[in-house]
Symmetry: C2
Subunit: 354 residues, 2 copies
């Protein structure tokens, strides 16, 4: 994980997703009866906070239109090993990006290291929960994947184990949100997803991102650069749910989610084009595409692959292996630039607490 | 500032101060009408959170005696450049020290990077505010000090400028606390202070800590190791208030603090013996004292002195100067071990919001 600027530049795709979800946030605020005492907005899976700054600023602006002095708590949450130093600097205007903080009075920024698989906030204290590009993470690794780095491309019982874990995690995290939300409170979620045509992040056109990744790591196994055990640990502990899977707990009136009072107001799965591929179709410079593309891959993958390498290897050796991996990826992009695109495929959900 | 373990070992004196303040926390909770919805405790100036873990655990235990399932928010706050990664790891049990978190249900840990010179929490949302060894910091540097590193040992108009800044900061931070506190809510504060005999941190017996520090840095100016400008920037932006200065805004019924509804319930200034000097009087080993003592000095001083060195010096050179400074300090401790003691002199205040 990286600090401030690097994260930000590599995360333009994630910013587009948050941009696409922002109208849903604003509509949700407009539809709400605002509280008298204080409003709480929580961004779950915020990373360094840079990608959601504009959305949060827009949300506060929408609140301010109707409640000019209502105290607003902005809670940024992620897992305990997130880079909170980068987050605090981003929110408090000590990074290169512009924070929402100086533009408004009566704001109370807070951070939490409680994951969304647990209750982050006290009962009936949350008005708007937001999360983008985060809820594809699973709470636990169901099993290693023997033949692929990503469960979306895995098959058989291994894939089934990920599907089942994803089903349970979705229910768990929704039930916790139901406890946190005030009646009439809402969730706006834009998680990575699988659409009706089987498309998902980086697998929409050209060569799938995870096929490229898998292919390179398997070549590293073949030439002895990494072991089979390391490769097996490299799997993404993630799952891209389909519309049916997002809907399931809402469709079942007996589910814990329905009984907790959550209703699905809207769901749509959308593909957003890779900004780097779009830029390439204008500049046509394979070197430039490769130079921009690989940091973007690195941003969401380095901690996963680096963490899978044996701790018995010296740190320098592990770094060399990672450098070699990203060099190989860069070479592939340079060789066949039109094959590469990381389109974002996300579900956009609006959920209300009754 | 350092991560986890180092901070913790060097901060045993600060832990003793928090230990001495803990009964005041427990009495304050016992005296309170507990809320029905949620209880909020805020530790202001928490650093990496390690020194206050036991106090927070004891406070939650006291709440739990009367309200077994009351949701409790624990807010750790400090300034934006604090090490929040270390804090989150400490609170979430990923450091060497034991957190209060696993021992209780219905806890909601949060962090804030808003300094106590601003409002950290929404109006009427705080039940117990705590702060130890932190409120001697000033919000801004009134002036450089030409002849000393610490304003407590400075004289004339320079000292007066620090006194005046401290007076204003004390009012400002109390008025913000008055806004945050619920009626009947309390503050328990244990800031560095100056007692009736003119004693303060490290100036109670033997050679004063800040005289030693000042003496070494002046010798570095004399031999050309640092410039006069660097020395002038090395001053601690702090002030050790006297009992009269702590009391002033409470004694004046027309002050902003009194008008905001804060009352001083109790105030006492106490000297706690330096644990390292106490250990030395048993082991009598100057090497061991010097080895333990200097990290303790380093813990509260390195960022101040390091930050004062010219950024035009290469990082390596700045590090060499700091190493030289702490080496010189170690030599002094080794040469005359009985002269060295960092006794803590703190005021213990209990304040109530009407």
């Amino acid at each position: 994980m990286r600090v401030g600027g690097v994260y930000f530049d590599a995360a333009r795709g994630a910013m587009d997703v948050i941009g696409a979800a922002t109208p849903l946030v604003l509509e949700s605020i407009r539809a709400m009866t605002l509280p008298r005492e204080r409003f709480t907005l929580c961004d779950m899976g915020c990373a360094d906070g840079a990608t959601s700054l504009s959305m949060i600023g827009a949300a506060i602006g929408e609140i301010r239109r109707r409640a000019p002095t209502l105290p607003v708590c902005i809670v940024h949450s992620d897992q305990p090993l997130n880079d909170y130093n980068a987050l605090m600097r981003t929110v408090h205007g000590l990074s290169a990006v512009e924070s929402f903080l100086p533009a408004f009075d009566h704001l109370y920024p807070l951070a939490s290291a409680t994951t969304f698989f647990h209750q982050i906030l006290p009962p009936r204290s949350l008005h708007l929960g937001f999360s983008a590009c985060a809820m594809h993470w699973l709470s636990t690794r169901p099993c290693d994947l023997s033949d692929h780095v990503h469960p979306a491309a895995a098959e058989g019982p291994e894939r089934e184990a990920y599907r089942e874990q994803a089903r349970r995690d979705w229910e768990t995290l929704l039930v916790h949100r139901a406890a946190e939300l005030v009646p009439g409170g809402r969730l706006v979620l834009a998680p990575f997803a699988r659409d009706g045509e089987g498309r998902y992040f980086g697998r929409t056109r050209g060569v799938s991102v995870f096929e490229t990744v898998n292919d390179i790591w398997r070549s590293f196994v073949d030439d002895g650069s990494v072991t089979r055990e390391e490769y097996a640990r490299m799997n993404h502990v993630q799952y891209y749910r389909s519309e049916e899977e997002w809907r399931a707990p809402f469709d079942d009136p007996a589910s814990a989610v329905s009984r907790a009072g959550l209703r699905l107001l809207s769901l749509e799965t959308r593909v957003l084009p890779c900004p780097l591929a779009t830029a390439f179709s204008a500049h046509r410079d394979p070197e430039r595409l490769a130079a921009d593309y690989v940091p973007s891959v690195r941003y969401w993958s380095e901690s996963i692959y680096g963490g899978a390498l044996s701790p018995e290897r010296p740190a320098e050796e592990r770094r060399e292996i990672l450098e070699g991996f990203y060099r190989a990826y860069r070479d592939r992009v340079r060789a066949r630039p039109s094959d590469h695109a990381m389109d974002h495929v996300n579900a956009y959900l609006v959920i209300e607490k009754e």
